[in-house]
Structures are given as C-alpha cells and as structure tokens.
C-alpha cells in the first residue's frame, strides 16, 4: 500500500517536474563546479534578488494558466502599479499605504481581466493583451514618462527594502535575503490554497472542464475571475519586490516580464491547456531561469545566452511532458 501510494505520487507528479528538479540541481552544481566565485553567498543572494518579481508574477499567473487562460498583462501591471504608487508617494501618501495601494491596483487590474474573460467571454489572450497595453500607456500618462524613484535604503522610508533584503549584498549577515522567506511562505500558502481549499479545487476543475464544473453547480464565473485577481494581486506583490530591489521604475518598461514568468510556469509543469499545475513546479521553473541568468556570465557568456538556453529548457521540459502524457493515455 505504502509502496503503491508512493508510486502514484511519482506518477502524478509527472516526469516533467522530476526533470525540472534535477535540472535545477544540475545547473547549480554545474556553475558551482566551473566557477569558484559563483559559490558565494553573494551570488546566491543575487540569484534570489533577480527571482523575486518573476517568482511572484509566476505564482499568480499559474492560477490563470491552470484555468486554461493566460495573463499577458502582469509585467506591465507590475510597472504601472509601482508608477502609480510612486506618484502617490510623491503626493505625500505614507509609504506603507503606498505599498498597499500597489497591491490593490494589481488586484484591480486582475479583476478587470477576470471579468472580461469570465463574464464577457473575451479570449484571455486578447483581454489581457488589451490591459497590457492599457497599463503600459497608463503608467506613462500618470508619470508624464518620467521615471519614478522610491526612497533609497538610507532614506527615512527605506525600511521597505528590508522586506526583501536586510542590507546591501555583502554576506548573509548584512544582506540577509528575507525576500526568499516571503516568497517561500507565499508559495506554500498558495500551494495549499490551490490543492486543499474549495476555490483552489474549483480553479483546477474549471481548467480541466469548465462546462462540467458549471454543471456541478459551481459558480465558474466567480472562480475564474478569482484566478485573474490572484494573478493581478501577485503582480502587485511583484511590484513591491521590484522596487525594493531596483528602486527605480521606468515607464514603458516591463515588457517581456510576463513571458519570463510564463516560461517559469511552463518549465514547472503547468499545462497551458489548463487543468494541471503546481506552485512548487513554478518556483522550480523560476529558479532554473534565474540561476541560468546569474550563472552564465560566470563562465564568460553574455546574458543573451540565457535566452538562448532557456528556450531549449522550455522546449525540453514541455516535450518530456507531452511524451509522458501520450504514454500514460495509451494505457
């Protein structure tokens, strides 16, 4: 019995996720072997730093992808909400409230996406493409194309930076990556939410078969909207991690962030067709990408190679999944 249930865990977990974990470990060890300076706590903190905003976006968008939809707007929502937050801050709003506003703005855009997709039946790709452009333009409008700079660590309001790192990168003591703890806590919380609560179950169910879920008496409009609200809210969280790490936000940027997040989700084994997905996989996928991004320069490769190699990783990961599924459907 124990043996059997273990087998099932592996079967359900899927080859793809197993490969993803192995790849993560392999890539880290690879860089660590080939570069002594990669094996420092500094580098590890750099990897974390560059993972936060992608990681939060990826956790959020996992829910949307599980419903069979897509959210292209998360990157620009990140930028837009931090720009609006910056303008509010300049107008004198206390920073703590600004941060809350940023999350609410993210949630609001998520809600708009959700309503467009679930209620008005717009294709997710189109609806979120629209909000992507709207948020991108809106960010430029509210700031008059000026970039926004949040308070630096040394400033009076610099405390928010310690949410993600306690000090400058130096070592684990001075610059402890508190953000990693936040990321992990939220990831675990959302994983439990997805697998152990009704809303999570309904999101999985409607991604698998929306009509069947509806006929089971589940309010699919509500839960599908919720998936987008989660995605938007996490884009807001991502915005906070972004300003905490990078301080400055430039209008018009943020394009392509969403693709990094979606790539992480896909590498982590969530199917773009909907119905299957896991937060753990997403986190693994995001870290695979950021280790590549940080690690490649250490072996003397320009960052463009990260794109090049990530492309292969995505194709490989999804191919493994497709093969695996074809095999299991035969039996």
């Amino acid at each position: 019995m124990g043996n059997n249930s273990l087998k099932r865990v592996f079967k359900n977990m899927g080859t793809q996720k197993l490969i993803a974990i192995l790849a993560l470990v392999f890539i880290y060890v690879f860089f660590a072997v080939f570069s002594s300076s990669f094996r420092t706590s500094n580098t590890l903190i750099s990897i974390f730093d560059s993972s936060y905003y992608i990681g939060f976006m990826a956790i959020g968008v996992t829910f949307v992808i599980i419903t069979g939809g897509i959210d292209l707007s998360i990157g620009t929502v990140l930028i837009c909400s931090s720009l609006i937050g910056g303008v509010l801050y300049e107008k004198g709003l206390p920073l703590a409230l600004v941060l809350i506003c940023i999350i609410l703005i993210g949630a609001l855009f998520g809600f708009i996406n959700g309503i467009l997709v679930s209620k008005f039946k717009l294709p997710a790709f189109i609806a979120t493409l629209g909000t992507m452009m709207i948020t991108r333009g809106f960010g430029s409008i509210v700031t008059k194309t000026k970039s926004i700079t949040y308070p630096l660590r040394t400033a009076e309001d610099g405390w928010y930076k310690s949410l993600f790192r306690t000090g400058p990168i130096g070592n684990m003591e001075t610059g402890f990556p508190t953000g990693f703890i936040i990321l992990m806590v939220l990831a675990i919380a959302m994983a439990i939410f997805l697998n152990k609560t009704r809303p999570g179950r309904y999101i999985l169910a409607l991604g698998s078969n929306k009509e069947a879920t509806r006929l089971s008496g589940v309010n699919v409009v509500k839960w599908e909207t919720l998936a987008y609200v989660i995605s938007g809210t996490f884009a807001g969280l991502a915005a906070i991690s972004y300003i905490a790490i990078y301080s400055t936000v430039q209008p018009g940027s943020g394009n392509g962030f969403e693709m990094d997040a979606i790539a992480g989700v896909v590498i982590g084994g969530t199917s773009l067709a909907g119905g299957v997905g896991s937060i753990a996989g997403t986190i693994i996928g995001v870290f695979i990408m950021s280790i590549l991004k940080v690690g490649l320069p250490f072996i003397g490769l320009q960052p463009h190679y990260q794109l090049f190699i990530t492309g292969f990783v995505i194709i490989l990961a999804v191919y493994a999944d497709v093969r695996n599924r074809a095999k299991s459907s035969k039996n």
Binding site: T40, S41, G300
Partner: protein
C-alpha cells in the same frame, strides 16, 4: 502531501547545495582566480609589470548598439596597452534597469580589480555600489557615469561634458537659423527630440541645448514648452522651443514624436539629443523631405550609419559627436590606475561638431562609428 514533498525536495536541495558551496567558496573571494573567464574579454601577455593580473569589469548601458561597440573598441585598445583583462557587458536596452543591476551584482561577485560603470539608474544600483565599496573594489564612471552616486563610491569619471555638448549644438544651429529666429513676424518653432527624461547625460544635452538656445535668442523672446522638466513659459514670445519625449524607447514611439514636430509648419530647426533621437528624426523625415540646408535645419548627436548618411546627403545640417573610443579607453585607463591605488581625476573625453565638410577629416573620422 505531494506538494510539500516537492517544495522540500527542490528548494532544500538548492539551498543546502548553495550554503555548502558558499562555505568553501568564501576564501577565494578576496583573491579571485579568473581562470573561468572566456567571454568578450581581452588578455594580452605583454610584460607591463604589476598590472598583469588586473581584471576590469565594464558595465555599459547597452551592448549591441554601434555606440557601445565603439566604446568596446576603446576598452579593448586600453586592455591591450595596459595588459589587463576586461569583460564588457550591457543590458539589452536602456529601459532594462533590472537587467543592468543584475549584471553589476554579477560583476562584483566575480571580485574584479576595478569596475567601470555607466549606470542606467543610480538609485537602482546604490546597494550594489556600496557592496563594491565595502569589498574595496573601486568604481569609475564612464559615458553618463554614475550621477548622484554616494560620496566617494565613484573615484572618477571618463565622460563627455554633456551640457557643453548640448550648448555646442545650440550654437551651431543658431548660426544657421539666426535670420529666422531674430524677431520673426510669425511664430517660429525649434523642435527637440529627447529619448527620455531620466538619464543624466540626455537631460544635460537637452538642457544645454535648450538653455543656450534661449539665451542666444533672448530669454524674453523665446518660450520653452512640451515637457515639465524644461518648460519656461514666456507670454508673447515668438520663438517656441518644443521638447518632445516618446512614451517609451522604441523606434516607433520616437518616430511619432519627430513626425509631430515635422508636421508643424512653423518649424525651423530640430535637434535630437542622442543617436536614438536623431535616428527617429531621420526616419520621420523619410517621405516628408522637410529637412535640408534651405529647409528645416536638423542637428543630431553621436553618429551611426544612418546619421552619417543623412549628413553626407545634406539632410542633416551636422551632428555633435562624442568620442566613444576615448570614453572606453579612458574608462579602462582610470580603472587600472584606481586599482593600483593611484590618484585619479575626472577626464573630459571631449566632443566635436561635424558636418558634410569635415566628416572625412583625420580628427573626426576615427570618432564616428557606423
């Protein structure tokens, strides 16, 4: 159940592996071995004594752009001359603040002898800069440098005096449009296209031009509009200086702004404060043909194949060029000196006005890049 297992397995493995390796890697931080470096770096075996093992990490604001390739050439030249190892990186575009910060962090983690930095945004890089400071890695600025960096963190800059460069552009344009802007009967307009309103270098070039032009025409006879940063409203002034900034750094958005200016009938002159802005003006003029010696006078900045062609064919009146090779060369030179602990001071890498007549001259031609 399954989930916890996966989270635990994946993340714990990485963390444990990371922490363990961190332990053994620490010792080497101080004297890094650079045996693993193989990228775009240049090493020479020339015997120049104590600089043999020095490494300089160069973080530019771009990489694939012609300008940065010319800077790269300068750094390579210096690397060869001083016998040091250099590694040149830059983000994909000038909006990619996060990417550049990551590159800077990486550079610091590699533990080089010195770092040369052209920051896209200083506040974003401030943590990393203080990290370098605490590790004793000197930073020199180049090109736009690291404006507003914490006191003492950037030891010297190798840069064009951008405000001066902007002034030079204004002087040259004023020469050409003097008649049209001296007490005109109808409103006349001078357009300015600036890539963005954040970076210090572009702001200074724009401000240098706008302010110099205003004072040449007369403060009370000209009004500046278009962007909060430069606006100076003078009622009844007949000369309008209009600054336009695209909503994003893309060829299309920039071209739209240039088109808006070119479509105004009262336009007499137009200035693009960097290569991107100049390119947008040239692209917008395509098919409109409003630019030329007897038409609207256009002055650009930097070079590049498109701009050089526009100048040779008379579409552009002329352009201001910095000296990218000198910037790259001096950046490495300063970095090497700083790494050795020598005293360093800022270097003005200079700028020149060039047009169809002097473009082939010996003192101009090497500064231009295709």
């Amino acid at each position: 159940m399954k989930l916890k297992k996966v989270v635990a397995m994946g993340i714990a493995t990485v963390l444990v592996a990371g922490m363990m390796l961190t332990g053994c890697g620490k010792k080497e931080e101080v004297t890094p071995e650079n045996t693993e470096n193989t990228g775009t770096e240049t090493t020479t075996e020339t015997d120049t004594g104590n600089s043999e093992n020095l490494t300089v990490e160069i973080i530019a604001k771009g990489f694939q752009h012609d300008f940065w390739q010319a800077v790269l050439k300068g750094t390579e030249k210096a690397a060869e001359e001083f016998g040091v190892t250099t590694n040149f990186v830059g983000p994909a575009n000038e909006s990619a603040i996060a990417e550049q910060v990551e590159q800077l962090n990486n550079a610091i983690n590699k533990g080089p002898s010195a770092i040369a930095l052209a920051a896209l945004d200083t506040s974003a890089a401030v943590d990393a800069i203080s990290n370098a400071q605490s590790k004793g890695i000197p930073i020199v600025g180049f090109d736009s440098g690291v404006p507003g960096a914490p006191e003492g963190s950037v030891v010297a800059n190798a840069a064009t005096d951008n405000y001066k460069a902007g002034e030079l552009a204004a002087e040259k344009m004023y020469e050409a449009i003097k008649d049209k802007v001296t007490d005109p009967a109808e409103t006349v307009r001078i357009g300015v296209v600036a890539q963005e309103a954040n970076s210090d270098s572009i702001t200074k070039r724009t401000a240098g031009f706008v302010e110099k032009m205003s004072s040449l025409i007369g403060e009370d006879k000209s009004t500046v509009e278009g962007h909060d940063k430069y606006n100076r409203k003078v009622d009844g002034a007949k000369v309008v200086i209009e600054v336009r900034i695209p909503s994003e750094v893309s060829d299309n958005a920039g071209k739209t702004e240039a088109l808006t200016l070119l479509n105004k009938a009262d336009l007499v002159g137009i200035y693009g404060s960097n290569e991107f802005a100049s390119k947008c003006i040239i692209n917008a003029n395509e098919g409109m043909n409003k630019l030329g010696t007897d038409k609207v006078i256009a002055i650009g900045f930097d070079s590049g194949a498109l701009q050089i062609d526009a100048i040779k064919s008379g579409v552009f009146y002329g352009s201001i060029t910095q000296d990218p090779i000198s910037i790259g060369y001096n950046a490495v030179k300063l970095a090497v000196a700083a790494a050795k602990g020598e005293a360093v001071t800022d270097v003005d890498t200079g700028c020149q006005f060039y047009n169809a007549e002097n473009i082939e001259n010996e003192d101009i031609a090497p500064l231009l890049y295709e």
